[in-house]
Assembly symmetry: C5
Homo-oligomer: 95 residues x 5
């Protein structure tokens, strides 16, 4: 999984039937220190993450393993909201 931050939302009314009712979040990929990399991904939200929250997202076929994304044409899912990040015994992030 990758570390990301929810920064926005995409609205798309004309979409594949299987995507009806999903929430499309824009997730910027983060470094461990919380700084943003240039990369971003559009992910379906399976955990109710809000804008500004630090999250984990899974990619590829694994993104279809939640109840929300099963059998859907989605290659990225937000599957956890991060409480804390600890590296080398040091707390880098706490919600």
């Amino acid at each position: 999984m990758n570390l990301g931050k929810v920064v926005g939302t995409i609205v798309a009314s004309q979409k594949d039937d299987k995507l009806t009712g999903t929430k499309l979040q824009i997730v910027r990929q983060l470094e461990l220190d919380g700084s943003e990399t240039g990369a971003f991904v559009i992910a379906i939200d399976a955990v109710g993450a809000g804008e500004g929250e630090v999250v984990l997202y899974a990619s590829g076929s694994s993104a279809r393993q939640t109840a929300v994304t099963k059998d859907r044409p989605a290659d990225a899912v937000i599957m956890a909201i991060v409480d804390s990040i600890e590296v080398g015994g040091k707390l880098l992030y706490e919600k």
Copy 2:
């Protein structure tokens, strides 16, 4: 998923049988501000996107989860046409 813009079309009469009847669109990957990255992908269109439209495309096995792409040798599908992009409460794009 990734953000892209349909910029063209590929015609291929000699192709695997399973691709018969599909529309092959050229999709340039976009940044959130709408500028084009250097990357592009050839994707099957599952939503009737026209040239110039801003779309979402899914990659990998997830690209085979639409009615149009099921069981086909396709690793990218346009599965949504973008209405709007909002980042940090600011509307970055509106169709």
Copy 3:
């Protein structure tokens, strides 16, 4: 899918049983203007592409969705020979 050009062949007599009878083509990835990127991939040919031909190739699990590649340990397949590429109403390539 990605755009490529068949530039050569690989012969491998000692290989997994499931690869018997497949043709291993060397495919250089192309830009839309036909110039070669530095990247290349070894793909199984499902459409009878010859050297120098511009093709589309699919990667990952989607590469196993042709009759030629089904259940084989192959992560890339040539699944179409390109007739023409049109971008912004301009014909960039014609076979």
Copy 4:
């Protein structure tokens, strides 16, 4: 698979149900000489790796092939703890 070193842990209480009871490790990707690349991944631990240990991790759908990760929305798994790395007859690393 890729070579990595466990450098920390992520705690996420609000997550997809299928992730309950998994341990989320932060794994920095390593070069063969043991130096760290800039890349990292969050992986589920299937072998009880501790901080500082050199490990192998698998990505994509293969990450769901352990008893710990089966059917879970996880795209990376630590599936081995490295005892030794030998390149060109030279021992580069020994636990």
Copy 5:
């Protein structure tokens, strides 16, 4: 598939049960001219490749399509030993 050269071995006694009995080879990715790229991968050997041999390896779910790797948490497999590489009618490599 990608072109690589077996350059070493990894020993890991503590690993997921499904990996028992597999051989973990270190494979450096090669350019077509035989020079090494900086990239490498750890792959399960399905064809008995020895150190120094030029091989093909498959990645992702396709890596699980050999008898040796079926249902295992492995995302890379050596599935062929290269006899020769021919580009543009010129023999670039012969075993």
